[in-house]
Symmetry: C2
Subunit: 186 residues, 2 copies
């Protein structure tokens, strides 16, 4: 068995690198021929949560649905990777409790830096009051207190963050350590 | 490999036996230690479709969501069994097109018999006009034209219907034929 099923749950502010890391990990796992599904933004909004907005209630519904699907997948041996902001601690913990194997990864970066970088131009709008319910500005973001992995995406490169996540998963036996390339086989 | 992933999609009127058959099959597969998930009524309504009603649009959304989750599961080697009425042919076929392995089972029974038996008392209410959007009475039910299996639940026993479904799955290579019990091993 190269891996067991588990859910890798990213949380973090907009622009903190959740989707980038989630996509790179999914790619890495596919290369290793692991079973993996990525439940990210558009896909989830289209298939599970069309019509939901960004109120606390709607966000919680969205997070619970993603959690439900991730749970079905992970208990059947799939690596389910999610990348929703999932700003509310209690709701994330509720999803965690329903899982057997759950790894929370907090993509942490100071909001000042994210606002400065502002890849999608959303922080500018949020700070100008043009976007309502923006996590961390006009809406709460509750960081995890006991995430299995914290990656500091303002200070680490993507590769460094990836390495730290993979190392955690290997050390805890979620995935096999990559076999070192043998010099001459045997 | 004892089985490959596929979706077993029941369709049929209320009371036609979809849930009964779906539950029995899930039980049978679990006994064979297959990976199986049952996406049925309450579970789905709670986790995926809370707030949806019974208009065409809402039913279609419900069916598409179930289809999405079934697809994720089945393409990862799980047997996903669904048991929603799923009354609209086009929507079922849309779900089918998104699948690699899809087996539609039509639980067929004349509406007169279902109304007569009326296990949940719903037909009486629907015929009295007290239930709106009741498939087959105040709302359409479009039977499949090319279902892989048709079980005639008013004329067959549950065991007979089960046998026919299992035989189809074995013949088409979705599951292994049950090994006959050896008299003395070898």
């Amino acid at each position: 068995m190269p891996h067991k099923g588990f859910t890798l749950w990213f949380t973090g502010l907009s622009g903190a690198g959740k989707s980038t890391l989630a996509n790179r990990l999914a790619q890495e796992f596919r290369q290793r021929e692991y079973k993996v599904e990525l439940l990210d933004g558009d896909e989830v909004r289209t298939h599970l949560s069309k019509g939901l907005g960004f109120s606390k209630e709607d966000r919680d519904t969205n997070v619970r649905r993603i959690g439900y699907v991730a749970r079905l997948l992970s208990r059947n041996g799939v690596i389910a990777i999610t990348a929703a902001i999932s700003p509310y601690r209690d709701t994330r913990n509720e999803v965690r409790r329903e899982h057997r194997e759950f790894v929370e990864v907090y993509a942490e970066a100071p909001i000042e830096k994210l606002a400065e970088r502002d890849v999608k131009g959303l922080y500018k709008k949020a700070l100008a009051g043009e976007v309502k319910n923006f996590s961390g500005i006009s809406d709460p973001y509750e960081p995890p207190l006991n995430a299995e992995v914290v990656v500091q995406t303002d200070r680490e490169s993507v590769d460094e963050s990836l390495d730290r996540i993979l190392t955690y998963l290997e050390e805890k036996g979620f995935i096999d350590a990559e076999a070192p390339v043998a010099a001459g086989g045997y």
